[in-house]
Subunit: 434 residues, 2 copies
C-alpha cells in the first residue's frame, strides 16, 4: 500500500515532510574502491582496464578489441527488426529537431563607454557517453545523450557500454550509429570512467563524460569532475501526476507504474483534489500489478515510495508539487496550461491527459535525462548547452579605457592587487601623455 495523505489532516505537514526527506537510495560507500580503480587505470592504462573488465564483466578483451569493430557493429545492427529501426529513427529525428532549437546565439555589442562586449559559444571537442549494461541498457538513452552532443558540434563522441559476459544489446549499437557516435567501447564501471577521463594507450581522453550509471559510475564521475566535465549525478526516476479526476484512472495508474517499473527506488506520486479518484487510481495500480512483467520492481516502488495525496484544490497541488520538484510532472487536468503557470520547479512537464510521460522517454523530442531527487530546484535536463561552452569577449578603445579604467584601478588598490591597478595605470598614463 502506498502512502495516503490528505492536506486537511492534522498530521499532513509532518507526513509530507517525511515523504520529501525520504532516503530512497541505498547508496553504498564505494568511494574507496573507486579511488583505487581510478589510480590503477591512470597507472597501468589498458592493462588495468582489461583486468578489471575480466573481473567485473567476466569478459576477456584484447587491447585492440576494447572497441567494437565496424564489422561487429554492422553484424549486430543487422539483427534489429525493421520496425524497431524505424522507431529509433523517428525518435532520433524528433530529438534532433527539438535540440536544434536549443542552440544559443552569440552576442556582440558596443556600449555607451565605447567598449565592445559579448560572448561566443563553441562546442566541447570530445565527449564520452556512459551507457549501462544489462537491464538498464536503454537505446533511447544513447539517443538522448548523443544527439545533443552532435547538434552542439562535438567532434569526437564515444560510448562506453559494458557487455557482461559478452552480451550485447544490438539496439544500443544501432542507436549509437544513428546518432553519429564515432566509437563504442565494451567496457564499463569506474574503470571506463577513468579511461575516458585520463586516457589509456588505446582510449583517447575526452573533455566531458555524461550518462547514467550505478553507484560505482556515479562515484567515479564525482571524482573525475574538474579534470573533465560531467553531467548530473542521476538518481532513481520520479513522477508526480496532478489529476483533476476527469481522466480514466487506469491511464494514470499506468503513468505512475511507468516510473515505478524502472527501479525499486523509483517514486510515483498522485496529487488530486478528488479523494474517490485517488482510491480508484490506487485500485487500478493494484489490478495492473497483478500482470505487469516487472511487477516485482514496480510493486516494491509503489509500496515503499508511492503516495496518493488528496488536496483542497489545484493551487494547493501546484504548491506541493513545487516542494517535491519532480523529475517528471504530468498535468492531467482540464486546463493544463493554466496549472503549468503555477509550477516553479520540475524537470519536464507533460500537459494534458493525451501526453503520457512515456512519450517523453522516447519520441516527444525533449530530453529524458532530467534532474532527480529534488534537484529540479537548481538544475535542468540534459541539453545542447551541456556540450557547449561560452567564451566572454571584451575590447576597450582608448576612450573606453579612459572612461572606466580609473574605477578598475581604484578597486584593484582597494583589494591590494597592485599589479592589476598598474596594468590599467600604465595605459592611462600613455593616453594622458598623448
Amino acid at each position: 500500500m502506498p502512502l495516503f495523505l490528505n492536506t486537511r489532516d492534522a498530521g499532513f505537514e509532518a507526513a509530507f515532510s517525511a515523504l520529501l526527506g525520504m532516503k530512497r537510495e541505498d547508496s553504498p560507500d564505494v568511494d574507496a574502491v573507486v579511488a583505487g580503480i581510478i589510480a590503477d587505470v591512470r597507472a597501468r592504462g589498458d592493462a588495468a582496464v582489461i583486468e578489471l573488465t575480466a573481473k567485473f564483466d567476466r569478459l576477456e578483451l584484447a587491447a585492440d578489441g576494447l572497441a567494437f569493430s565496424e564489422a561487429e557493429i554492422e553484424a549486430e545492427c543487422a539483427k534489429v527488426s525493421d520496425e524497431d529501426r524505424a522507431a529509433l529513427e523517428l525518435a532520433a529525428e524528433r530529438i534532433r529537431a527539438y535540440h536544434a532549437r536549443q542552440m544559443p546565439e552569440d552576442a556582440r555589442w558596443e556600449d555607451a563607454a565605447g567598449a565592445t562586449l559579448g560572448w561566443r559559444w563553441g562546442p566541447i571537442s570530445s565527449a564520452g557517453l556512459y551507457v549501462p549494461g544489462g537491464l538498464a541498457s536503454y537505446p533511447s538513452s544513447v539517443l538522448m545523450n548523443a544527439i545533443p552532443a552532435k547538434v552542439a558540434g562535438v567532434e569526437r563522441l564515444v560510448v562506453v557500454c559494458p557487455t557482461p559476459g559478452g552480451v550485447v544489446n544490438p539496439l544500443v549499437l544501432l542507436a549509437a550509429r544513428i546518432a553519429g557516435v564515432d566509437l563504442v567501447y565494451r567496457i564499463g564501471g569506474a574503470q571506463a570512467v577513468a579511461a575516458l577521463a585520463y586516457g589509456t594507450e588505446t582510449i583517447a581522453a575526452v573533455d566531458k563524460i555524461t550518462g547514467p550509471g550505478n553507484a560505482f559510475v556515479a562515484a567515479a564521475k564525482r571524482r573525475v569532475f574538474g579534470k573533465v566535465g560531467i553531467d548530473m549525478i542521476a538518481g532513481p526516476s520520479e513522477i508526480l501526476v496532478i489529476a483533476d479526476g476527469e481522466t480514466d484512472p487506469d491511464w494514470i495508474a499506468l503513468d505512475l507504474l511507468s516510473q515505478a517499473e524502472h527501479d525499486e527506488s523509483a517514486q510515483a506520486i498522485l496529487v488530486t483534489p478528488d479523494a474517490a479518484f485517488g482510491q480508484a487510481v490506487a485500485a487500478a495500480v493494484d489490478r495492473r500489478l497483478e500482470t505487469l512483467e516487472r511487477r516485482g520492481i514496480a510493486g516494491a516502488s509503489w509500496r515503499d515510495f508511492g503516495a496518493v495525496i488528496v488536496v483542497r484544490d489545484l493551487e494547493e497541488a501546484a504548491q506541493l508539487s513545487n516542494r517535491v520538484a519532480p523529475e517528471h510532472l504530468e498535468l492531467c487536468v482540464a486546463d493544463p496550461e493554466a496549472l503549468a503557470e503555477r509550477i516553479t520547479h520540475a524537470g519536464a512537464i507533460f500537459l494534458g491527459a493525451w501526453t503520457p510521460e512515456a512519450i517523453g522517454d522516447y519520441v516527444g523530442g525533449p530530453n529524458h535525462v532530467l534532474p532527480t531527487a529534488r534537484s529540479a530546484r537548481f538544475s535542468s535536463g540534459l541539453s545542447v548547452m551541456d556540450f557547449l561552452k561560452r567564451t566572454t569577449i571584451a575590447k576597450m578603445t582608448p576612450a573606453a579605457l579612459r572612461a572606466i579604467g580609473p574605477a578598475a584601478e581604484r578597486l584593484a588598490i582597494s583589494e591590494s592587487l597592485e599589479a592589476h591597478g598598474l596594468s590599467v595605470r600604465a595605459r592611462l598614463d600613455r593616453l594622458n601623455e598623448g
Copy 2:
C-alpha cells in the same frame, strides 16, 4: 626564471606537454575532515557552526549573531570612501547591464505531428554565495556572483564570509548591499557550506552554492553537490597573453603579473613570435618584481609556473593557446578579431592592447568567475544561466499521439518497459474506439 620555450626546438613538444600537465595546486586531502564537519553541522546545527567558528576563526558568536545586523552593515558601509563607493557602483552597473543580456528566452512551438513542444526558464529560489575571508576577500567577487543571481530573479540570496578574529572588510559588505544580498553571515569554511546546504536553526538552507574558497570549502562543495547545486571548483588563476611584439613590454609584464600576484600557484604565460620581445617582457617583469607589493607571491608564481613561448607565427600561437585552454586570454596583436576566430577554448578573451585583463576583473561587465585548470575545454564562466533552470514542455493532441505513439510503444517494448508501452497503448486504444 620562468620557462623559456621555442617551438622550433627539438624538445619543445615534451616540454610543452610537461607544462600542460604541471600540477600547480598543492591540494591537501582534507576530505575526511570535511566529512566530519558536515556531519557535525547536520547533527547539531548552530551549535556546531558556533564551535567551529570559535575554533577556526577565533571568533565567539551567539546564535542570533551569525548574521550581520542592518546596523552593523550600515556602520561598516559608512567607513567606505566616496571614491571606492563610486567605483563599486560603476562596476555593479556595468556587470548588471552585461548579465541582463544573458537572459535566455522561453520557446514554444507546434510541430508537424501536432505536438506542442518547448521549454521555460525560471530562477533558482535561493542561493548562497561563499566569499573568502582575509587576503582573498574581494568585493568584486561579491558583485560577480551576486549580480547574475539577482538578474536571474533569485528570491533569497545570502552571503557567507568568515571574519577571522572579527576582522571585517567594509567593501565586502557594501558590495553585498549594492548587489541586493539579503543577509551576510560571518561564518566560513566547510561549516558554512554545510549550513547553507542543510540549514540550521537560524540559517535557512539554499538551493545552490557558488563562490571560491580554500581546499576545505572546495571539498565541502564537492560533497554537498547533488543535495544542492554548486558552481565550478575554482583553481588558481591563469593568464595567457599572445603578443605580436608591437606593444610596450612593460604593459605585458604588468598583465602577466596581475595574475601572478593572486597566488603562488597562479600561472602566467606569454606566447609571441618575437623572441626579442619575449626577452624584453621577461626583463620588464623582473624590473617590476623589484618593487611590487606582492613580489613574494608574484615572483614565486612567475618563477615556478611562468613561461615565455616563442612561436613561428600567430596561427601556431592560437593552436598552443587552445591546448592550454586558459582562463584569461589577452590578444595583444594588430588584428585581435582575426586571431580570436582561431581560438576554440578560453574562459574570456581580451581583445587588443588597450584591454588589460584587470579591466575584466572589475568593470568590463563580463563575469570574472572563469574556468581554471584547462576546464575552459568543457565549462564556462559564471553567468545568469547558473541561477536559472529549464523545464521542458510537451503536449500531445490525440492526432499527435496517433502519429508518434506507436513508435514510443515499440521502443518501450524493446527496452522491456511494459508499463511505458501500456500507458501509450491504453490511450491509442481509446482513440481507435472513438
